[in-house]
């Protein structure tokens, strides 16, 4: 079984995000970029399946500008077998990504597709679900455990209020949650091997998909600055303020 993992290039989780002066988005120039942490978990899970003899090949797919090759290289250095970059400078929104991925999947015919449950830049949490719908495949989102069984998959999902275990038929789409695994670091020899692994570069037209955005961003703003706290003299005053000033009770 082939496993396809989607990997997105995002601003590193350690970077303090700055909004651009013209409020059209956030500053990405000269900012450290990394693989979306949920996608690292996806790569790790795919590698573990291959190491357990349950998968034959791990393919890392990224979509976006040419620099996304670095993100694919990271996946290759962790151990993925080959990479595919759908290269475009157009801003990609979840539906476009899902359509492009579907086109890649139609060609590659993997038995399992793993995505992060969301990307830490726009926190959309849509791509995996849209992709499963477009493919007409079963989906196991927010996975914290994944087991291959004789007749498909068993996925433990993190849901409000606890864990839910579902059985899925393959092929299937999985999205990862934080507790699924702890991703490995790339070792030095594997970093050196990664550059010899192939990365196919495809244009969206070649996949017959129009990736143009459907949603328009009006403006991006910093969250409001935190206000200083206030001391209250009595419980009475506290309740009064909660009711009449903050209006939360």
């Amino acid at each position: 079984m082939k496993v396809l993992v989607a990997v997105k290039r995002v601003i590193d989780y350690n970077v303090k995000i700055r909004v651009k002066a013209d409020r059209t988005g956030v500053e990405t120039a000269n900012v450290k970029m990394s693989m979306n942490p949920f996608d690292e978990i996806g790569v790790e899970e795919a590698l573990r399946l291959r190491e357990a003899g349950k998968a034959t090949e791990v393919i890392a797919v990224s979509l976006g500008a040419q620099q996304c090759q670095e993100t694919i290289r990271t996946a290759l250095a962790m151990g993925a077998d080959r990479g595919i970059l759908v290269q475009t400078d157009v801003e990609l929104q979840p539906l476009a990504v899902a359509k492009l991925l579907k086109a890649v999947i139609d060609k590659e015919q993997p038995g399992l597709v793993i995505l992060g449950k969301q990307a830490i830049d726009d926190d959309s949490n849509q791509t995996g679900q849209m992709l499963a719908a477009l493919l007409g495949w079963s989906q196991g989102t927010f996975a914290s455990k994944l087991a291959i069984t004789d007749d498909g998959l068993e996925v433990t999902r993190e849901v409000d209020g606890g864990l839910e275990t579902v059985k899925l038929k393959t092929p299937a789409v999985i999205t990862t949650d934080l507790r699924l695994n702890e991703p490995r670091y790339a070792s030095l020899p594997n970093i050196m091997k990664a550059k010899k692994k192939p990365i196919d570069v495809i244009a969206p037209d070649a996949l017959g998909v129009d990736p143009a955005p459907r949603l328009k961003v009006l403006k991006v703003e910093e969250p409001a600055k935190r206000q200083g706290g206030k001391k209250v003299a009595s419980v009475q005053e506290l309740v009064d303020k909660l009711q009449n000033e903050a209006r939360v009770i």
Binding site: T74, Y185, L188, I191, M192
Partner: protein, 379 residues
């Protein structure tokens, strides 16, 4: 001349940085305070190939160069200079076995060293022989297919904890030509250790005397020929010096970042410290010195990788400059923190204590000047 890292080097630096931030940094203060030798964290580093960075790939190493190593040590030391420096010694010994050992020895030792199943120490210094290393007295007398060792090594990093000791011993007459290098396994009869030294810094690794009393070591454990030991020891040190310089870069960088943060947030006289020009200038000088030191370390590494005739001198220059600059930067960062810099709740004092010894070991900075001057003032 190119001043940019290759894509691979970027990836290597990033891996080392991510690893250090997750596996060293959160624990470094505790390792320092409680004198913990972080065996598991070091083995995790070895899993990534950090214990045999420039050991050849077919021997279980990572097959990389000295510049790659400098990048790695800077990143690791930005989290914990003391632990990074121990790893440098492990690399030095592994490289000596790969470079100067025979196939049988490589087969017997290298895998253990690059995986850090076995920890290694480098034993040159003696109580009576420090800077004048070639005057060492530990004697190895041949007895059949064994050497019988008598003498004491001092200040040995990893002493008592390590499993394998690369020991410079006297098998012949006086001076450097009478010195050989033998590998001594822990548990050899006649091998014992002094008490664990109490130190200003480098507390995440033990330092102890290593004592030989009629200690029997197979002749098969000698690297190269009799009389070649001092040459091996010195060529090991060329790379060791770069690594120590790189460890100073990492520690200094961490202090520079801490100082930047403090200057931006601490307010006095109604403004952030960063707004006082006197402090801005000092901060600018710290950053400039760090950059200069980094260039020298990378230059030394490139020189050693290229096998340049001036390599030993470049390594000595880089070690002298980077370890002096590194300590100064930590000290300035401490000053810019005011009283907070002196507290253990802030990280600067740990880096300062750890980096101080880099000016002393792997050859003191006075000896670095001696090496440089000898080279330049040859008649």
């Amino acid at each position: 001349m190119r001043f940019t890292l290759s894509e691979d080097q970027e990836a290597i630096r990033r891996t080392a940085g991510d690893f250090a931030a997750a596996e060293f940094l959160p624990y470094a203060a505790q390792w320092d305070e409680q004198g913990i030798f972080p065996v598991d964290a070091l083995r995790k580093a070895a899993d990534l190939g950090f214990a045999g960075i420039y050991v050849r790939e077919e021997q279980g190493g990572s097959g990389l160069g000295r510049l790659d190593a400098a990048l790695i040590f800077e990143e690791l030391a930005a989290a914990c200079p003391s632990t990074a420096a121990y790893l440098s010694i492990q690399n030095m010994v592994a490289w000596m076995v790969d470079r100067f050992g025979n196939d049988e020895q490589r087969g017997r030792f290298l895998k253990r060293l690059t995986s850090m199943e076995s920890f290694a120490s480098y034993c040159l210094t003696e109580p009576g022989s420090g800077s004048d290393a070639a005057s060492l007295k530990t004697k190895a007398v041949r007895d059949g297919d064994h050497y019988v060792l008598n003498g004491t090594k001092a200040f040995i990093s990893g002493g008592g904890a390590s499993d394998l000791y690369a020991v410079m011993v006297r098998t012949g007459g006086e001076g450097p030509k009478g010195i050989s290098c033998v590998l001594v396994e822990k548990g050899s009869p006649g091998l014992s250790f002094g008490k664990r030294e109490r130190k200003l810094g480098w507390n995440s690794q033990p330092t102890a005397m290593v004592i030989f009393e009629d200690c029997r070591v197979p002749v098969a454990n000698r690297l190269g020929e009799e009389g070649e030991g001092f040459k091996f020891a010195m060529s090991g040190l060329d790379g060791g010096r770069l690594n120590i310089g790189a460890c100073s870069l990492g520690g200094a960088r961490a202090c520079l970042e801490a100082a930047r943060n403090h200057l931006m947030h601490r307010r006095q006289f109604g403004q952030a410290l960063a707004e006082f020009q006197a402090l801005q200038f000092r901060f600018a000088d710290m950053a400039t010195e760090l950059e200069a030191a980094r260039l020298m370390v990378h230059r030394g590494a490139a020189s050693l990788d290229a096998g340049a005739a001036e390599a030993s001198m470049h390594c000595a220059m880089a070690k002298r400059f980077a370890t002096d600059a590194g300590f100064r930067i930590c000290n300035e960062a401490l000053q810019l923190h005011g009283g907070y810099g002196y507290l253990k709740d802030f990280p600067v004092e740990r880096y300062l204590r750890d980096l101080r010894v880099h000016q002393i070991l792997e050859g003191t900075n006075e000896i670095m000047r001696l090496i440089i001057a000898r080279r330049l003032l040859r008649p």
